[in-house]
């Protein structure tokens, strides 16, 4: 391993600009003549818009335009869409309601845009927005997914009777019922997977600019996938033809899924920029982000697991209601279906699984993929069932897991996925050693002496990453293919640009992708730059989400590097006057096998461009190759997280006192970056389990709408983490990469709750396990103990 090659903890190339304040986020950019836009948003969760009086706003200083949903409709701007078609049990298609970028006749959630003001300055736009008078007829609202399908619930969209988007299922219901009939033990759980606000630290932003000379538009946007944004905005919303729209995603300050989606704001900025013929800039405020950015999770589930007399799992069944909010966001439909039910087998051999999912509209912010997207929900269901099952049957939870682990690969689960490689026992074993599970009883006694309850919880999770084989997802309803592209451009001086369709917003691609190139071509890492995030520079690509950039994005780079090497060998054969078959490439040098004839990589690159040594008939000049890599399978990162907590019985305060994670991510390119990804994921999962909750009151008002009320994990809420890896290579891609971005968030909520319930001696605790909730649970335990005495 070289100091900068695959497997080395190379310090990040991108850091210099960030630590010196030279990053260029969308809000840091200014276009000449730029105007500012402010969105007037509905304060009501559900209200008919009777009339909008913009006359006072139009007269305010600096106002350039006041625009409404009626103007948008008059200009025939198309609806926002959900790009994954789900079919209900009865064969009917999902009920996708129109989603205009500005509500025209009815506002469907607090924060739904109803008008915009464009003005010379941000302050003027805000001042004028105060003067827009909207006459609402307030309608009853529904926010609870479990109540959305009731006959008495208000109807949100005409196309979706009973607010039901789809009633979907997966698996063999009859076989599952039969398996349950033969069960020795059944574990049953009711689970609420709490609604979360992703909260990337950089609020979303957009600048749209119209070039009247070329009739083209440019959008600078906080997006994880600029090409997908361009495709949707052009093909479905119809703002401009694809070749007349350039989307640039500059430095983006975190995404976690929330910046995948195509939102109303960027569409409105583009539309308004052409209308006022000036650049239009929007920067979300945090309070605005709480009601404008897609939320995550929000499942209500009943789940059951059937065991035989030896603790072998016979079957699992689950019924989930998924809240998709007021509109179907870009990938919302896939999250509670193909990203959720397909992972319900966990790391276990479960002969039969059946899952039903009803997706519903409510008068809340749309819900879509958030770090893990479906897989944290699945892991929580499976890992809680296994843990509770073990406790009920009085089997050691680690032992019960071991008895049920998939041990032979490939393994076909009953829910589509075919696991190709893994060693689940290896990660469990290593994690148990690192976490000193043997010493836990002693630590528990020590905690007890200090008046505290100590608990230990496991989560042996699996996820499907490397999203995704296009043909497979196409057959499941995806509207796009999920391959990735790369272009490797070798310059005449031997330096290299890698153009990738992935987008980095914290993942460190500028470093890891360069490591792969440096390793392969034997050139210094400083001589490699990674280009991404601009549809005018980079070939079409699918972007970054679903822990896909390593498994799919790097694989595309590797395929392009294969072609570069092959072409370079041809050039080298002319340069070294040898047969192509005799050329070998080693340590950055082209050699003629069995001789001392050598050409450095740089010489070959230069010769490829000056083209003096070969004729154009024999060989095309240049050294630049591209690849579109379509994976042949998902990848299956898996591992074991062990959480240890201490509970203060007086206050209900839970402290996470130790965390051990052992993950199998396949080949690791940069262990430093991979560890960082795991840390961040765990923090978000601990946040979900202990701190974060998105609360709507019954009127549909968001009452946890700022950092004063929505509890973001802070440094003193978290411990230091012990993070290690095991390795089984993913057989489906050239380097064996599995992906690491979401693992922490997928594994951790179940580990935390398993630890808390272990400490408390009750399974009845919902996320987030706030001090108040834990204290209340403790009182209940004490009461029932007293009653028993």
């Amino acid at each position: 391993m070289s100091a900068t090659g695959i497997g080395a903890p190379v310090r990040r190339k991108e850091d210099y600009r960030f630590i010196t304040g030279k990053g260029q986020y969308t809000d840091d950019l200014t276009r000449p003549g730029q105007t500012y836009i402010t969105f007037v948003r509905s304060p009501h969760a559900h209200a008919r818009i009777r009339r909008i009086d913009a006359s006072a706003a139009k007269g305010m200083p600096g106002v350039v335009a006041v625009l409404t949903g009626a103007d948008l409709a008059a200009d025939k701007v198309g609806s926002l869409i959900c790009g994954w078609a789900i079919t209900s049990k009865d064969g009917s298609p999902m009920k996708m309601a129109p989603h205009p970028a500005i509500a025209n006749t009815k506002a469907n959630h607090v924060g739904d845009p109803v008008a915009v003001v464009v003005a010379e300055t941000q302050a003027q736009a805000k001042d004028a927005a105060e003067k827009v008078v909207v006459d609402y007829e307030v309608l009853p609202a529904v926010v609870d997914p479990a109540k959305a399908q009731a006959k008495s619930a208000p109807q949100i969209h005409e196309v979706a009777p009973g607010n039901t988007i789809y009633e979907w299922h997966l698996g063999d219901q009859k076989a599952v019922e039969a398996a349950f009939k033969g069960a020795k033990h059944v574990t049953r759980l009711d689970i609420v997977n709490n609604r979360l606000v992703p909260n990337a630290m950089e609020p979303r932003a957009a600048i749209a600019e119209y070039d009247a000379g070329n009739d083209s538009l440019t959008l600078w946007n906080t997006t994880q996938n600029p090409h997908v944004a361009r495709l949707v905005i052009s093909a479905f919303v119809g703002i401009a033809p694809e070749h007349k729209l350039r989307v640039i995603a500059p430095d983006v300050g975190g995404g976690f899924g929330s910046k995948i989606f195509i939102y109303p704001e960027e569409v409105v900025c583009l539309w308004a920029a052409r209308k006022v013929n000036r650049p239009v800039k929007w920067v979300s405020e945090r309070t605005e982000a709480f009601v404008a950015d897609a939320h995550g999770r929000d499942h209500v589930t009943h789940a059951e697991m059937a065991f035989d007399g030896e603790g072998k799992i016979l079957a699992l069944r689950a019924k989930t209601i998924a809240n998709l909010g007021a509109y179907m966001s870009t990938f919302s439909s896939s999250v509670p279906t193909y990203l959720y039910a397909t992972l319900l087998s966990g790391q276990y051999e479960i002969p039969q699984i059946y899952c039903e999912v009803d997706a519903v509209y409510t008068n809340t912010v749309p819900v879509d993929a958030y770090r893990g997207a479906g897989r944290p929900e699945a892991t929580f269901v499976v890992e809680r069932l296994v843990e509770v099952g073990a406790r009920e049957m009085q089997i050691d939870p680690a032992d019960l897991r071991r008895r049920n682990f998939v041990k032979k690969f490939p393994h076909q689960t009953p829910v589509i996925m075919a696991y190709d490689a893994g060693d689940y026992n290896a990660s469990l074993k290593k994690a148990m050693e690192l976490a000193d599970v043997k010493g836990f009883a002693k630590r528990k006694r020590e905690s007890a002496r200090a008046g505290k309850l100590r608990g230990l919880g496991y989560s042996t999770y699996i996820e499907a990453c490397g999203i995704a084989p296009s043909q497979a997802v196409g057959s499941l309803g995806a509207g796009v293919g999920l391959w990735e592209s790369a272009e490797v451009r070798v310059n005449p001086t031997g330096s290299v640009e890698v153009l990738t369709g992935c987008h980095q917003h914290g993942q460190g691609h500028e470093t890891t992708f360069a490591q792969v190139v440096s390793d392969r071509l034997g050139i210094p890492i400083e001589n490699v730059s990674v280009v991404h995030g601009d549809t005018d520079k980079v070939q079409f690509g699918m972007g970054t989400y679903g822990s896909r950039s390593g498994a799919v994005g790097i694989s595309a780079i590797v395929k392009a590097l294969d072609k570069v090497e092959a072409k370079a060998k041809k050039v080298a054969s002319h340069l070294l006057e040898a047969a192509e078959a005799d050329i070998v490439f080693e340590n950055g040098q082209f050699k003629v096998a069995g001789t001392d004839k050598v050409a450095a990589f740089g010489d070959v690159a230069l010769n490829a461009y000056i083209a003096h040594k070969f004729s154009g008939q024999e060989l095309e000049p240049g050294l630049k190759e591209g690849s579109f890599y379509d994976p042949t399978n998902f990848t299956f990162p898996a591992g074991c997280h062990i959480c240890e907590v201490e509970v203060d019985t007086e206050t209900g305060q839970v402290e996470v006192v130790a965390w051990t994670a052992v993950d199998d991510f396949g080949k690791v390119i940069n262990p430093m970056i991979v560890e960082g990804q795991v840390h961040g994921g765990i923090a978000q999962g601990v946040g979900q389990a202990l701190l974060e909750n998105t609360t709507y009151d019954t009127d549909g008002q968001l009452v946890t709408g700022s950092y004063m009320d929505y509890t973001m994990p802070r440094a003193d809420n978290l411990p230091s983490f012990r993070v290690e890896t095991t390795e089984t290579l993913a057989p489906s891609n050239p380097l064996g990469i599995k992906g690491c971005g979401e693992a922490g968030a997928i594994a951790s909520p179940a580990a935390v709750i398993n630890a808390i319930t272990d400490a408390l001696g009750t399974e009845e605790i919902a996320m987030p396990a706030t001090p108040a909730a834990v204290w209340a649970a403790l009182q209940k335990v004490n009461q029932s103990r007293k009653a028993a005495e």
Partner: protein, 164 residues
């Protein structure tokens, strides 16, 4: 509009601003020092931390005119020319940043922490002192490591003191 004058990163800065202009807006919009970020609107996240007369201040909680005559240091003014401040070096060395958005505020807070608490900072102190800074990417583990290392490095003979 009232005029406001202050020294920012060692250079005089003067502008006419609306009275409601926040210090962070003045830095970002008038001076184009966009390294100071805005991550919330309730003074919770700490992405906007700068030093005013040597002390860490959330620049979204202060009006520009309140900084009249003050000596302000932003992330852009922390390095000594091309030589990074030890705390900047520590964040890079220990992978204390991912998306980079909270990083300027984290680094400015960290330098202030060392100025107040000294060069030997334990994890507990660092975590408590970071109460006013939110990071969504790192889980804080590496930020804590970076600050401890940066603090030590600020104390060793070879390293400079904080820019102010």
């Amino acid at each position: 509009m009232p005029a406001v004058s202050m020294t920012v990163n060692g250079k005089p800065a003067t502008a006419d601003v609306e009275p409601r202009t926040l210090l962070v807006q003045f830095l970002r919009e008038n001076l184009r020092l966009t390294g100071t970020h805005v991550g919330c609107d309730t003074s919770q996240c700490g992405a906007c931390v700068v030093h005013v007369d040597g002390k860490a201040v959330k620049s979204c909680t202060m009006l520009a005119i309140q900084a009249e005559g003050a000596n302000v240091t932003t992330i852009e003014g922390l390095a000594n020319g091309s030589q990074l401040h030890p705390m900047q070096e520590a964040f890079r060395e220990h992978h204390g940043l991912q998306c980079g958005f909270c990083t300027p505020g984290m680094i400015m807070t960290a330098v202030d922490m060392v100025n107040r608490k000294g060069n030997e900072l334990d994890d507990h102190t660092i975590r408590e002192e970071l109460e006013g800074n939110i990071c969504r990417c790192t889980g804080y583990h590496n930020i804590v490591k970076a600050i401890a290392a940066g603090a030590r490095s600020m104390g060793t003979g070879g390293a400079r003191k904080a820019a102010e």
